[in-house]
Symmetry: C2
Subunit: 342 residues, 2 copies
């Protein structure tokens, strides 16, 4: 591991739990675990360390390259000041520009090959938007920063027991049904399959495609979308050489024996994907953006204002996000080398 690049970890919303779970992740570092450089405000980290009574030495670095050498003894920080000092749980929209700036710095470092990938601490959508942030969330912002064509960035959620991709996400259930198209399912499946090959070491990923309706519509008895929208997407993915199959009844798709038959479940709506994911892997979930030119993961939770400043938030999901990003970066490098070797 020595010699490999560190990850960039963004500060996220400074009034949320991002800072303290970053400190906790460093305190739980393992000699062979992922190393990271935190893009954050040293003054606010000092204040947080003092408030929580922690023993975390900070090391101000000028570039990620310095991070590896010190990581065992101190938490490396690339200084990125916020204009307003905020108390835990009391966000100020005036910090939105600095919060977004930390994300942009991380992306640029990844594009330059200075970090192996980026891990983002949670931001708060409403606070950011009141502060002038013009994107629905991280994923769309990252797509814009990297010039990724709209709709080809794909959110995957993973825990040790399961990987899921929801084709539709943060919209009302009624709208998710109306918006569901064969094209959206095919794009998500295609990007997901490529991501699993390049970043997860799966040569021929198996994609189980969930039906929209109960029992996947039972041949039209309970809705026609599975025959008219989902099935043609499965056929198209198979025609492209991707091992997709379905539509399958979603209620019987997530027990252990069913999970053994696929590498990823492609789901039609938010809760179809997130109910099984959070039932099986609460506090271990990792949010992964596939389809970007840079490796990016994040913990699968929000800013948790109610918990902030108490050092009670579980850093498990952030630690899993760091480990997942490091593993993805290693596999992507190996995959790209194997192709450039030809």
């Amino acid at each position: 591991v020595t010699g490999s690049l560190p990850l960039a970890l963004t500060m996220g919303e400074p009034a949320g739990i991002g800072g303290e779970i970053a400190l906790a992740a460093w305190l739980r570092r393992r000699p062979d675990g992922p190393r990271f450089v935190l893009i954050d405000d040293p003054a606010r980290l000092d204040s947080l360390i003092h408030r929580l009574g922690l023993s975390v030495p900070l090391r101000i670095v000028a570039s990620p390259a310095e991070a590896n050498a010190c990581f065992a003894e101190a938490l490396p920080v690339l200084p990125h000041p916020v204009p307003v000092a905020v108390a835990p749980g009391q966000p100020d929209p005036a910090n939105a520009g600095a919060v977004a700036g930390a994300i942009e710095r991380a992306v640029r470092l990844a594009e330059q090959g200075a970090v192996a990938g980026i891990v983002t601490n949670p931001i708060h959508k409403a606070v950011m938007q009141r502060g002038g942030f013009a994107f629905p969330g991280h994923t769309e912002f990252l797509a814009a920063l990297t010039g990724t064509p709209a709709g080809t960035e794909v959110m995957m959620l993973a825990c040790p027991a399961l990987r899921v991709v929801p084709v539709t996400i943060h919209v009302a259930l009624r709208a998710a049904i109306s918006q569901l198209t064969t094209e959206a399912i095919v794009t998500a499946g295609r990007v997901a399959a490529r991501g699993l090959q390049r970043d997860f070491g799966l040569a021929a990923p198996r994609l189980a495609v969930a039906g929209l309706n109960p029992h996947a519509g039972e041949e039209g008895a309970m809705g026609h979308e599975d025959q008219e929208i989902v099935a043609p997407a499965v056929a198209q993915l198979r025609a492209e050489g991707i091992d997709a199959f379905g539509p399958l009844p979603s209620d019987t798709l997530f027990h252990a024996a069913a999970r053994a038959t696929y590498d990823l479940a492609l789901c039609m709506y938010h809760d179809q994907a997130l109910i099984p994911l959070k039932t099986l892997g609460f506090d271990q979930g990792v949010n992964i953006t596939l389809g970007l030119p840079v490796v990016r993961t994040s913990p699968d939770h929000g800013t948790a204002f109610a918990l902030a400043g108490r050092f009670q938030a579980d850093p498990g999901s952030l630690i899993a996000a760091l480990e997942t990003a490091a593993a993805m970066a290693r596999r992507r490098a190996a995959f790209d080398r194997s192709f450039s070797d030809v």
Copy 2:
């Protein structure tokens, strides 16, 4: 247990796995486990026992009262012949009347107080309807047989980790959203709460009510149904003295810590209820009809024609259904006694 009434177990579709899982359940009987009388065709059971090479002595009985004495040594059968001998996996609609008749006999025995409750083996909807059966499934037939007002019978599914009631069931997801009403949620919650009190020994059952939309709509940002339809139902149930709360985001409702906060999750659509249930308790699920004058459970699977005649079907769900029915009957008797004592 000696002296208590046996349960009635119906034959279900004779070409399905019902017969062999009934035989398996008897073979796995425990001295203090539930006793049952099978309402089935002795000739077809003999043929099945021979085909599978099992050692299951049958005892033809004239009434359930005879079943207790023999249950340890032989499987008691109330003879109920089918007109057409069918091979496993090859159903004949001509048997539909006999299949429905076995269900009706079980109900009448329960109404007469001759059995403690009824457990139904799976029937096949399409085969039954081709044979003239005029009901969508067991639940509606049982409601009609017992004069239960339409819509006040409630399907609950239970496994050791979770109980769920889906307010809408076997309809397209789009239709489930359109059909969802405050009244339907209130009725389901009211019947479920009463059932948990009377049949499950819970004096003040806690009902977690799932939101329809992602994040329960996030205050209208993702759909208005949670504010306009679900929240008023929660308020109405609370006004009736029922400990209901929500609407809650359904993705975070089913991990262990969340499950510890309620006795039942009231869900808005089929897969919102059945994904977590089957993820957590596949092969252990029990289907329970609340709101009927008789105790009724069934295994949470179908006729499994592809498995029939091979003795490979897991009898776990049927055994759980028998145990659940026996426990419900005991608690209901105790509950009713405690009220009649006043």
